[in-house]
């Protein structure tokens, strides 16, 4: 905790021109004043309140002169060694000062502190360390640093620096400004802004803001950021003069930011030009879910949301016979049919993948997407190529004409070749609804996060909530208690992420916030649905959605891209 210095100056002044005695009263709250070594000035040094005089400019101290000549004038001064500390607040004595011919309303004010001067020796020598502060555009709170109108009851000058202290909860004024960082006779003056600024995200997830040519003698640089088009600048940090870059790891995904630098010292604050960058983002590339393709409510349904303005081409497949080739011991669907629905039912459908869009489908297989070829061009698996435009919510329903009530694999792939930042449309939500059995018949699947940066994902296992209208229920035969296992890319077993009930992990408030943000209906308190919230690096994720204690029924796995 920094010692605080608080100065009160009562000023009784005489303005004979107007045949009246005027009064100006200052309250100067000075926090964290330090000597040249960064040591708080608890019991030494001299402090001066000075006026610029009519020219509005401050002469700097010179050897032998605190004010350096010119028309600057000392309004009041304090011997800090004579003051007492009270309860963490360092008190400087109050005193009266008077308007006279040397200063008048509108004159600029500044404080000077000399850590090594004393009441007996107020004559600085060459290179004598001192601090200087004249608030103009630097945010320090309080009134303007200028002599107020005659008769002002309480003109309150404040000087607080960054960091919490007993008087304020932080400030945007760099702590460096409270140090006696200048030397008598040395070069000093207002800061200069950089000649150029630039940004990049060569290190994905961290924006580097760079600049050249700035200076702030005795001061520092404040780095600020805002959303492009917004008006509220956020202070990211304060760096020492001489620094030429700042790393910002706090960027969101796919957002356009403006960056600027404020060069600050005790004389002034100067803004740089603005550098704008769109941060990297990721997208959901694919979901594949294996489950039983039944009849009635037990069909397998894939839902997905695309968001953007341009075209997006998707490959969807529902595999039964091809799944049997991969897993010959499993009971698999004999002849799946897929129906794509956008707004209207069965807008597009396919029974056997080689019948309708053979060449288009072939073009979208690996390496264009992660879809591996189906060896038998005459198999009864289903596949479609769907091209969408703009933002839409879609479903694909898979059935089995042989009604085997057996396993199938439903897949959807984003065939966009561009990187996520360059794509005009992307998948932001994927889901699969199906019957959750036991053993091989649980819902198993995977999804791929595509991009260069991690993204916040919300993965939910919906079961009991399918009884609610708000979840498009009631769904007959829904499962009553779900559990999710999520396997991140390459994760060892001990790093698998599990969740039974969505409130178990102590992050339910964040889950609610993210659900709100992505437009997902929130679970009710106490429900036995499942949810996992992760910062997901790009890669392939595997999930298992099961019933608890052998429970079965219809469930829904959802994956939301939250940024």
């Amino acid at each position: 905790m920094n010692m605080k210095k608080l100065i009160t100056i009562g000023a009784l002044t005489s303005i004979f021109v107007v045949k009246a005695w005027g009064s100006v009263f200052f309250t100067v709250d000075v926090g964290s004043l330090q000597d040249e070594n960064g040591v708080a000035l608890v019991d030494k040094g001299m402090l001066y309140l000075i006026s610029s005089g009519p020219d509005g400019e401050f002469s700097l101290p010179t050897p032998g002169s605190v004010t350096g000549g010119g028309d600057d004038a000392i309004i009041a001064f304090w011997d800090l060694s004579a003051e007492a500390s009270t309860g963490g607040e360092y008190i400087v004595s109050s005193g009266e000062v008077a308007y006279d011919g040397a200063w008048a309303q509108g004159d600029n004010l500044a404080i000077l502190w000399f850590p090594d001067l004393t009441l007996a020796n107020q004559s600085p020598v060459a290179s004598e360390p001192f601090g200087f502060y004249r608030n103009t555009s630097v945010s320090g709170g309080g009134d303007a640093w200028e002599l107020p109108e005659d008769g002002t009851l309480l003109h309150s000058l404040k000087f607080f620096t960054e960091g919490d202290n007993p008087l304020v909860n932080g400030s945007d004024v760099p702590a460096l400004l409270a140090a006696a960082g200048l030397g008598v006779g040395d070069s000093a003056g207002p800061p200069t802004g950089p000649s150029s600024v630039a940004t990049n995200e060569d290190n994905p997830g961290t924006v580097k803001f760079e600049w050249n040519g700035a200076s702030a003698p005795g001061g520092a640089y404040r780095i600020e950021r805002k959303l492009a088009g917004g008006s509220d600048w956020t202070v990211l940090g304060i760096v020492e003069e001489g620094t030429t870059s700042y790393d910002d790891p706090s960027v969101g995904r796919g957002k356009e930011y403006d960056y600027r630098l404020v060069a600050i010292n005790g004389f002034d604050a100067v803004l740089s030009s603005v550098s704008t960058i769109e941060s990297l983002r990721s997208s959901l590339h694919n979901i594949a879910t294996r489950g039983i393709i039944g009849g009635g409510d037990n069909v397998l349904i894939v839902g997905f949301t695309v968001e953007g303005t341009g075209d997006i081409t998707l490959l969807t497949r529902t595999k039964g016979p091809a799944l049997a080739v991969e897993f010959p011991t499993l009971s698999t669907a004999g002849d799946p049919v897929a129906y794509f629905q956008l707004g209207a039912p069965n807008q597009q459908s396919n029974d056997n993948w080689g019948d309708d869009q053979f060449s288009e489908i072939q073009a979208l297989l690996a390496p264009r997407t992660n879809a591996l070829p189906i060896a038998d061009e005459n198999s009864k698996d289903a596949a479609m190529v769907v091209t969408l435009n703009g933002t839409s919510l879609n479903t694909i329903i898979s059935t089995d004409t042989e009604a085997k009530e057996a396993l199938g694999l439903v897949e959807i792939f984003d065939a966009t070749e561009a990187l996520p930042n360059d794509a005009t449309n992307r998948i932001v939500n994927l889901s699969t609804r199906g019957f959750i059995g036991t053993g091989d018949n649980i819902l198993i699947g995977g999804f791929i996060v595509k991009g260069q940066v991690s993204s916040k994902l919300l993965i939910r296992g919906v079961g009991p909530s399918l009884a609610l209208e708000s979840f498009n229920g009631p769904v007959a035969g829904h499962i009553t208690d779900t559990s999710i296992i999520l396997i991140p890319p390459g994760a060892a077993v001990e790093d698998w992420i599990t969740n039974d009930d969505w409130e178990d992990e102590g992050n339910s408030a964040e889950i609610v916030a993210v659900s709100d943000a992505v437009g997902a209906t929130n679970f009710e308190t106490g429900s036995k649905d499942s949810a996992i919230l992760i910062d997901a690096d790009p890669g392939l994720y595997t999930f298992f959605l099961t019933g608890v204690e052998g429970g079965t029924g219809i469930g829904l796995i959802e994956v939301f891209l939250a940024d």
Binding site: L6, F25, T86, E89, G151, L167
Partner: protein, 357 residues
């Protein structure tokens, strides 16, 4: 301590400034009149106020004798007081004595010490006092007793960026200006004084009887200050000072719970207020500060002088009788005494007022 009560009504005056009701207790039960006033504090503004109420008297009696000048000694019946009960603490008075009848009715003087039968005052003189004059002793309002939870319950979490400040101006100052005598704020459950350390408690800082004070609302939203206490319907003598150096402003509070007209002030015509003989060059002035206008460092909203047998207001011209203009309860005032050639003297403006029957 032996108290006597002579007022037989209990009236609650709440917020609207109007008497809200009268409750007559059983015949043998007497109570003072109590009231409360809420004053709006506009955002980013000063409000110059006076405390319109007093605290309960801690002693009522009659004068046995009085001696001395400059530091008056008042004697009362033997053993009628608790010795030391009214003693000043660390040089700050805690109580004041009021002469409630006789030649000095309304005059109040701070108490330095007391014994069982004697009260030693900080000032005052025996002129005109006679045995049997009624006297009373009141505790001073302090910040802690007047605003125990802060003004508008504002407990500052950033003492360096105070939302509410109570500025106690010097009692007098050169014309046109207030000079703070103390600046206070409420933080961490207690009153603090700027410049005295953020841990030092200033709950006992005195709000002197009859003095104006300034409440500064630095916040961007309006707030309300609640004043509560007993109604003063006895005469009030307000000391006024003058100077041979300059015109002198006396910042005063009238301590009345209802609005009264200028004609009811009793300020003019008694020799205390220098009447104007040349309307182009007014002598003494009464400065009135708005209770409702927004803004800091307020200038008077109206300046009155007494000319040709009536109150005049500077902007209205010397022909308009403004004696019916109202001084609102809680309003802070300044009496500007014109510079005198020599021998400046203090005087008492006695305001007599009673609750409407």
């Amino acid at each position: 301590m032996k108290n006597t009560c002579k007022i037989k009504r209990l009236i609650a005056i709440v917020a609207s400034l109007a008497a809200a009701g009268t409750v007559v207790k059983a015949q043998e039960v007497y109570s003072q009149i109590v009231g409360a006033i809420s004053i709006n504090l506009p955002a980013e503004s000063d409000v110059i106020v006076s405390f319109p109420f007093k605290q309960s008297a801690e002693f009522r009696g009659v004068l046995d004798s009085a001696t001395g000048a400059g530091n008056l000694v008042v004697n009362v019946s033997a053993d009628s007081l608790t010795s030391g009960a009214f003693d000043a603490q660390s040089g700050t008075p805690t109580h004041y004595l009021v002469f409630e009848s006789g030649a000095q009715k309304g005059v109040h003087v701070d108490i330095s010490t007391n014994t069982g039968s004697q009260i030693n005052l900080e000032g005052g003189d025996a002129t005109g006092l006679v045995n049997g004059d009624q006297i009373a002793v009141y505790p001073h309002w302090t910040l802690g007793s007047a605003f125990p939870l802060g003004v508008a319950n504002e407990d500052e979490d950033e003492p360096g960026l105070r939302k509410i400040e109570v500025i106690v101006p010097q009692a007098t100052s050169s014309a046109g200006n207030m000079i703070p005598e103390g600046i206070f704020y409420f933080s961490d459950g207690a009153w603090r004084q700027v410049g005295e350390g953020i841990s030092a408690v200033a709950d006992n800082a005195v709000l002197y009887h009859g003095r104006a004070l300034v409440i500064r609302n630095n916040d961007t939203v309006a707030k309300n200050a609640l004043f509560f206490g007993e109604v003063i319907d006895a005469p009030i003598a307000i000391p006024l000072s003058e100077s041979d150096q300059y015109a002198l402003n006396n910042f005063i509070g009238l301590n009345r719970p209802l609005a009264i007209t200028l004609d009811e002030l009793g300020l003019a015509g008694g020799g205390v207020f220098e009447e104007t003989t040349d309307s182009d060059n007014p002598n003494d002035k009464l400065l009135v500060y708005s209770l409702t206008d927004a803004g800091k460092n307020k200038k008077p909203v109206a300046t009155y002088y007494y000319y040709n047998g009536a109150w005049r207001e500077e902007s209205a011209g010397a022909g308009a009788d403004k004696g019916g203009d109202l001084i609102q309860p809680g309003m802070g005032l300044a009496v500007q005494k014109i510079q005198v050639g020599s021998n400046p003297e203090d005087s008492n403006w006695v305001n007599e007022w009673g609750l409407p029957q």
